[in-house]
């Protein structure tokens, strides 16, 4: 009872000091943007807010992927807020990922373009609900290493996903979060292509990849620490890990971590 009262008071106090358009926005997986003239360097995303409504960025983990595997994945994303009122944000985000899966004389590539619609609603000044619907458009060509098209068991198949974040801001820099994500539709990824193996030999591959789990999901309770120049989110939940950015779910279901650290200036 005392704890509830304390949390309620903290929330009310925090809410009074929490305009949603300040620099302590929870901008990853929500409709909120990083903010005008703001640079964000994070482990999951580099972003720059051109204006308050518009930000552009890239996901460094995919560039760094090159170090561990012979796959080159250039990528970029842009987010635009159609509505950015004090209690309601409505945004669209488009990302682009290109993976070269050429191998042993066979050429192939995959392009993943997630289209996301995001809405953030401030139910109370201290309690926000962030919703998301994403359509992953995947195109593939060539006859590269089909296995490489998979990330931990899931092909980059066309998919529709829904996600939600409940954000309870207990203090200006501190929030409790509950993240959930569900892949409601899983399509199959078709490959077609050919390659010259040697002077005498050519090969043609027509393939279809089917993910082993059609409706992966995850639920992750966590926290968010949103200082002015440092944003940290962390949590541990259960379900399928969704690779940040492309949101491709891994086949294995189990403990699912969530971590993001970013510096803003």
């Amino acid at each position: 009872m005392a704890l509830t009262l304390a949390l309620a008071c903290a929330s009310r106090t925090a809410a009074a000091r929490l305009p949603p358009d300040d620099e302590r926005r929870l901008d990853e997986g929500t409709a909120l943007t990083v903010g005008a003239q703001t640079v964000k360097l994070g482990v999951l995303s580099f972003d720059y807010g051109i204006i308050d409504r518009l930000s552009v960025g890239t996901d460094p983990p995919f560039w760094a992927f090159r170090v561990a595997a012979p796959i080159f994945v250039p990528n970029a994303h842009v987010k635009f807020a159609f509505i950015n009122s004090s209690r309601f944000w409505l945004s669209g985000q488009v990302a682009f990922y290109y993976a070269d899966i050429s191998h042993n004389g066979s050429s192939g590539s995959i392009t993943v373009i997630p289209f996301s619609g995001l809405a953030s609603v401030g139910v109370t000044p201290g309690f926000w609900i962030h919703g998301e619907v994403t359509y992953d458009l995947v195109t593939a060509s060539g006859a590269g290493d089909l296995d490489r098209a998979a990330v931990g068991g899931s092909a980059g198949a066309r998919a529709i996903q829904t996600g939600a974040i409940l954000e309870w801001r207990l203090a200006p820099v501190f929030a409790i979060t509950l993240r959930g994500r569900l892949q409601v539709y899983t399509g199959r990824l078709a490959f077609s292509g050919n390659g010259q193996v040697d002077d005498y030999t050519s090969a043609t591959v027509d393939a279809r990849l089917t993910p082993r789990r059609e409706h992966p999901w995850v639920v992750i309770p966590g926290i968010a620490l949103l200082w002015r120049h440092v944003h940290l989110t962390a949590g541990v939940g259960y379900g399928n890990v969704f690779v940040p950015g492309v949101d491709i779910p891994l086949t294995r279901r189990g403990w699912a971590p969530d971590f993001s650290l970013a510096v803003l200036f």
């Binding site: 042993n104 089909l146 998979a150 002077d199 591959v205 027509d206």
Partner: protein, 235 residues
Amino acid sequence: MTALVAAYETPTAPIDVTMLDALRTNVQARLLVLHLDWLPDLVADALTRLGSQLDANGLSDPNTSPPTNRPIIDAVVRVDRVCVGWDDPPGPPDATKNGAINLTAVVEDGRLRPNVEALATMCHARIQPSGAAARGSSLAVDGFVDGTLDVHFYGRVPRTVAATDVLVRLQAQLGISGPTTSGEADFRVRYPDLDFTVEQPGGEIIVTISTDGVTLQGSNVTVQCSADLSTCNPA
């Protein structure tokens, strides 16, 4: 193909050891038709290209379980190989003159089907024989094949000719730089050994050519022969 695979498991005809001379003649006649001194090498070489394509595309071999942490792959893999020709001049290969072999393999639920179809179209190939049927000869053979081949894999798709273990059934025209014969034939390649069947009263016997000689396996007895079939004795 299933019935043929079974036929190579166990001989169904007995061998009459009092009639070995006649059987030897039958076996030698069959050998002339099968062209086992060079044809298995040609088939095995084409199959190794398919094997490399499986590796290149991360596909699983027959009789192996695909990894459960990967997506399920269904695929059709086609390998087109221009034959090397009988003279192999410098420059790019001439598919029109040399002919070609086309292999079509189907991957179902992540696993290659154990049977593969191949089409040889006017394939002219100079082959360096390496199997037991070549009997150590290092002379290149100008082989010709035109027809269809069905291949059954007992294990993995070979990555090298020496790792080949397949059953081949062909309906084709075969020959070496001159006259050709046409018809149906089948043989098993277990490098360097080769098996084929010979019809006898009551069924078929299995003939194995190995580096040790020739073995005739009947349902009642096994007969060991010299490499040139000049002498045969029950084992």
